[in-house]
């Protein structure tokens, strides 16, 4: 087992004017036994990063350390990493057992040892009844288990999973999430999981590293990403439905600093802390963000609960009823935004609703750098 440190890692594909800078100045430390997800949209550089950790891709500049060992120039087999592939990448002409045992066969383990360990891994992954089957005869979920097993069998320092669930249907995915979580708890290995699906990333990992445009945007646990996103991209990318953003202007009246949303004729209240930050930051224009989860129809209990809530009224244009909740799309003037409502909400189109929010949940970003003002 090992921790993984990436220092100023860059990846540039090609040369000259057509060169693509796929990963820029990436710094990341993953602790021993930690489960970290690399999350980002397609083309953000997460797979390049992962392939550099594994050693399938050379590092243009910077270094990768496992513990104190610089592995930057090593071949994959010398790094003691194991990887499960998006496309499973099983050897089609081997049985499941031979597939599982291949890393051991290559390392010269005895046939008995190979058999024993394959059996153990198969039990761990609940595929003992498939040991004699060939991969083409297996379902996607079964193949992915075998692929995980092949990665696990030689007890690697670092265990890397590349979009392993993107070809599984929703039901299998759920099962697999559970299994991966269980595996991580039982084995306690350093795991790096690459995905474009925030649900997988947030559900599985201790920390999530969000990437976009070849750069690492933020690393943090679920709460940090949710409540203190480093910038507009993270606030937008994490969370479903996405955060509402408003172009806003700081206005001060009677010593109370608020953000006036352009064209919509409403102002957003800020918490004490945010007010201080905005003041310290200076400037007049900001991007304000509030998550739909933090914007809900006001009820009588809000008033009596003693919570500091503010309200704004808006006209409902769409009410999407999703079973366990409803998404209201409301607008005020030309500005539209989403709010989450309990499922029993039956707002008719064009009905005016009163939406309540906690000023502490209003996020403020610099319009130039798009970074969080805090």
């Amino acid at each position: 087992m090992a921790d993984v440190t990436l220092t100023n890692v860059n990846k540039i594909y090609g040369e000259g004017p057509s060169a693509v800078h796929a990963v820029q100045d990436l710094n990341l430390k993953i602790d021993d036994g930690e489960f970290v997800a690399l999350l980002g949209p397609s083309g953000c550089g997460k797979t390049s990063t992962l392939r550099m950790i594994v050693g399938l891709e050379s590092i243009s500049s910077g270094s990768v350390h496992f513990d104190d060992r610089n592995v930057s120039a090593l071949e994959p087999q010398d790094r003691n990493v194991a990887m499960a592939f998006e496309t499973y990448a099983l050897y089609p002409n081997f049985t499941v057992e031979q597939n599982l045992a291949f890393p051991l066969e290559v390392r010269g383990f005895s046939a008995d040892e190979q058999k024993k360990r394959a059996q153990n891994v198969a039990e761990l992954l609940r595929i003992t009844d498939l040991l004699d089957a060939y991969p083409p005869a297996l379902s996607g979920g079964q193949q992915q288990r075998v692929s995980l097993g092949r990665a696990l069998i030689r007890e690697p320092d670092v265990f890397i999973l590349d979009e392993v669930m993107s070809h599984l249907d929703a039901h299998l995915k759920f099962q697999m999430l559970f299994d991966l979580k269980r595996l991580h708890r039982e084995l306690g290995r350093t795991m790096i999981y690459v995905t474009h699906d925030q649900v997988e990333a947030l559900a599985l990992s201790d920390r999530v590293a969000v990437m976009s445009n070849a750069r690492l945007q933020q690393v943090g646990d679920r709460n940090t990403l949710y409540n203190a996103p480093a910038n507009v991209f993270v606030a937008d990318f994490i969370g479903e439905p996405p955060t509402n953003f408003f172009q806003a202007q700081a206005v001060e009246s009677d010593g109370d600093l608020r953000l006036a949303v352009d064209d919509a004729k409403f102002t957003l209240h800020l918490s004490e802390k945010t007010r201080a930050a905005v003041k310290a930051h200076g400037g007049a224009r900001f991007i304000a963000g509030i998550r739909p989860q933090n914007l809900t129809p006001a009820t009588a209990s809000d008033a009596t609960s003693g919570q500091t809530t503010a309200t704004l009224s808006a006209k409902v244009s769409i009410n999407e009823y999703l079973g366990e909740r409803s998404i209201l799309t409301a607008h005020r003037g030309p500005v539209s935004f989403r709010a989450l409502a309990p499922p029993e909400t039956r707002s008719a189109p064009d009905e005016i609703v009163e939406l309540a929010y906690d000023p502490a949940n209003v996020m403020v970003f610099d319009p130039e750098t798009e970074d969080l003002v805090h």
Binding site: Q77, V81, P136
Partner: protein, 323 residues
Amino acid sequence: MSDIVRGDPDTYPAWFQNKKTTRPLIVSRWVPIFLVGVPVLVLLAIVIYPTIWMFYHSLRDTNIQGLFMGNHSYIGFENYATVLSSDRFQDSLVHLVQYLTFGAVFQVILGTVLALTLYEFVKSNAIRTTVLILMVLPMMLPPSIVGTLWRFLLTPSNGAVNQALLDLGLISAHIEWFNAGVSLWSIIIADTWNWTALPLLIVYSGRVSLPPAVYEAARVDGASQWKVMRRVTLPMLKEVIAIAFILRFTDAFKFVDLVYVMTSGGPAQSSELPTYIAFQRGIREFAIGEAAAYAIVIFAISAILITLFLKYMKRVMKAQGFA
């Protein structure tokens, strides 16, 4: 227009109804009959009728005169007895085995080795393409040209091959390329030059289409290049190599052209293959009945071998869950 059927498949004849869907055809029912019928008629005329004709005459004492005068009579399996008991035929079977082993089989092995070498060791696409094009050029030449070309190259007294070997000091005297016992080798050399590119192309394209992720997995698993080649690449290319082999194998059974152009089966019938004898007996010497028997014996041998081979392939693939 009464033939145009829209909406009521029940009006089709029973044998013509689509069992799976009730979606009606929107074309005339004669269109599919026409589309299937024409090729069937063509096949009947050029394959099925001649084959039956051949079976028929293999049981008769037909020669060219008898064929035209319509006087030939049933002689049972006498033609087959003649064929199977003739030394000429038995010798030609030995030649065939020699040709299959050092021609077809060797060409597939050589083609495979070249294809994988090209893929694994040459990383520049431009060089790969150039090599492939150069390798494929001989395949584009008609056999008569290939035969003539190699007859010139292998001419003992002043041929280029002997001259080159002499200059390199590899031999001290001319090799008599067209003597008995050597001439079949000369044919095999020319044939290898001509056809090795076919298995090469097939195996190369097979290798190109193998999933790269499997090779990355092998790298991460730590397998050496040789191990990957032996345990991963070759087994995955098994079916592709089998196809290349079947193609060269079937070609071998109808292989006449180079024999005809280069040696005419000689000297003293020492480079004859069964098909060449059938050709010689039938087209040159007009022993129609006997030539037909030759053809059918060759057909039977190749059919049995191919069937066994395909059975084996099917079993292998079934075990792996492909078929």
